[in-house]
């Protein structure tokens, strides 16, 4: 684990979780490290931040506490002292100490028991919050693994030990969270610009005519899409500029990429539109082969 900025928390060493299996790919995530983009640092943090926030609320943590982001499920964690946990995001079979357990509610894992995630039926990223939070050392104020820059802890490995923090004063007060169904394929709202004028007049309409399909090259940096190519109206190169979360960046081939949490803070391909912040989580839950449609709101947000 990297980072020497914060002294080790004495109380944190007393409780821990052991990674029995990470599954295909699992990382520690909180809400990331905002404020450093001008120094080349991606924000990082949970790709589906609302799911991590919900998981934390369910176990009485601050919403920004670090939890586990499992990709395609499969994660198994052992809790020698027992722990309150909550599993949110992509719905998958869950067992706690061998018994079936529900998503989206607080679950007690008895001492020595394991929390096991199966494979999600749909969706991609499942979140596990543990009461007290995962207390690996913070780097630049965050415990998130940044898959682009390598900041933060390494991805989970079998046998790794994750220190747990001390539970705060607030007790879990939510029994079960209702989750609205997501239409398939999901409709993702986009706001035009900042560089829609780099494209042919019909390009925004083509983007929203869709559908687009998620390709296997997608990851925490971005979701690469196949579908109707978006054609540029002007040649030449755009000088590098700041990239917001959810930017729909279009490389020369015309196939859009939607930037997720670990996206580079600056980039040189024009951004035709930006995904509405509430819909970034929908994109983060798409797996290779899934489809999505983009939709422009009635009134474009132009200044």
């Amino acid at each position: 684990m990297t980072g020497r900025r914060e002294p080790p928390d004495e109380t944190a060493a007393r409780r821990w979780a052991e990674v029995v299996s990470p599954g295909p790919y699992a990382t520690v995530q909180d809400l990331g490290r905002p404020g450093y983009a001008h120094l080349g640092v991606p924000r990082s943090g949970a790709a589906d931040a609302p799911s991590l926030r919900l998981a934390n609320r369910l176990v009485g943590n601050p919403e920004g506490a670090a939890g586990i982001e499992a990709t395609f499920g499969g994660t198994a964690l052992a809790f020698p002292e027992g722990a309150w946990v909550a599993v949110t995001g992509a719905a998958c079979p869950v067992t706690a100490a061998g018994r079936p357990a529900a998503m989206d509610c607080p679950v007690w894992v008895s001492p020595g028991g394991e929390l096991r995630l199966g494979t999600p039926r749909e969706g991609l990223r499942t979140y596990v919050a543990v009461r007290g939070g995962v207390a690996v050392p913070a780097v630049l104020g965050s415990r998130s693994t940044d898959s682009l820059s390598g900041l933060g802890p390494p991805p989970l490995r079998t046998g790794a030990v994750l220190p747990l923090g001390r539970a705060g004063a607030s007790a879990p007060i939510v029994d079960q969270a209702a989750r609205p169904p997501v239409p398939r394929p999901p409709v993702v709202r986009v706001l035009p610009g900042p560089r829609d004028d780099w494209f042919e007049p019909g390009a925004l309409r083509a983007l929203c005519a869709g559908p687009y399909e998620v390709t296997p090259e997608s990851n925490r940096v971005g979701v690469r899409l196949s579908g109707a190519p978006l054609r540029r109206a002007r040649p030449g190169e755009l000088p590098s500029e700041g990239m917001p979360l959810g930017a729909v960046q279009v490389p020369p081939g015309g196939r859009p990429i939607v930037f997720l949490a670990d996206h580079p803070p600056t980039g040189g391909y024009p951004v035709i539109a930006v995904v509405a912040s509430a819909d970034v989580a929908l994109v983060a839950q798409l797996r290779p082969g899934d489809r999505l449609r983009f939709r422009l709101p009635g009134t474009p947000a132009r200044l």
Partner: protein, 204 residues
């Protein structure tokens, strides 16, 4: 000069020049408007990400600051300080750069060290600063085949830019030398020595 919407929370300010981008960056950092989370300068832009801001008010404020940033009298971010970076000019590509630019390796080193650099912006990796101001005689294309591993502290050039690799990474820039100076340290505050607008001199 235009202010463009970049999603719900972002405003992309076109400054028309790097100098004006640095001045706007300095003005914003001196008195950050409420709700601003990121201020990201680029060669001709500043992206302002402000999830908590009153957007029309912020746009109006930025328009005003942009007019002020157009005046050369306003100091840019990092002005007043020059970071000096000691370099051992023994890089793997020094001879190749000498050949490409038609001079000796010694002349390449001397011209690099004499170039008045300014940190333009950061990108590619945490702490990786694009330094502008490279002597035009040293503008050479990047390697056709990037290296899979460039050691931290490598001093390199590509096109009109120079850089110090902040950490080990792949890289396609041509290596002129190396420095012991640390330009990136996650335990330091700020973690990057080379922030946008900082003036930089290399010393042989």
């Amino acid at each position: 000069m235009t202010i463009r919407a970049a999603g719900e929370h972002g405003l992309l300010v076109e400054t028309g020049s790097l100098e004006a981008a640095h001045r706007l960056d300095a003005l914003l950092r001196a008195a950050p408007p409420a709700g601003v989370e990121e201020i990201v300068p680029g060669p001709e832009t500043v992206l302002v990400v402000a999830p908590g801001a009153d957007r029309p008010r912020l746009a109006a404020l930025l328009a005003g600051l942009l007019r002020t940033a157009g005046e050369p009298a306003v100091p840019a971010a990092g002005e007043g300080g020059t970071v000096e970076i000691p370099v051992v000019y023994d890089g793997e590509d020094l001879e190749a750069v000498a050949e490409l630019s038609g001079m000796t390796a010694g002349e390449v080193a001397a011209r690099h060290a004499a170039s008045p650099f300014v940190v333009g912006w950061l990108g590619f990796a945490p702490g990786f600063a694009y330094l502008v101001g490279l002597d035009p005689a040293l503008h050479v294309p990047r390697l056709e085949v990037p290296r899979t591993a460039v050691p931290p502290g490598s001093v390199a050039i590509a096109g009109p830019y120079s850089a110090v690799y902040p950490s080990a990474s792949p890289g396609g820039w041509r290596l002129l030398g190396r420095t012991d100076a640390r330009v990136w340290d996650v335990t330091a505050d700020p973690p990057a020595t080379l922030a946008p607008g900082t003036r930089v001199r290399f010393r042989a």
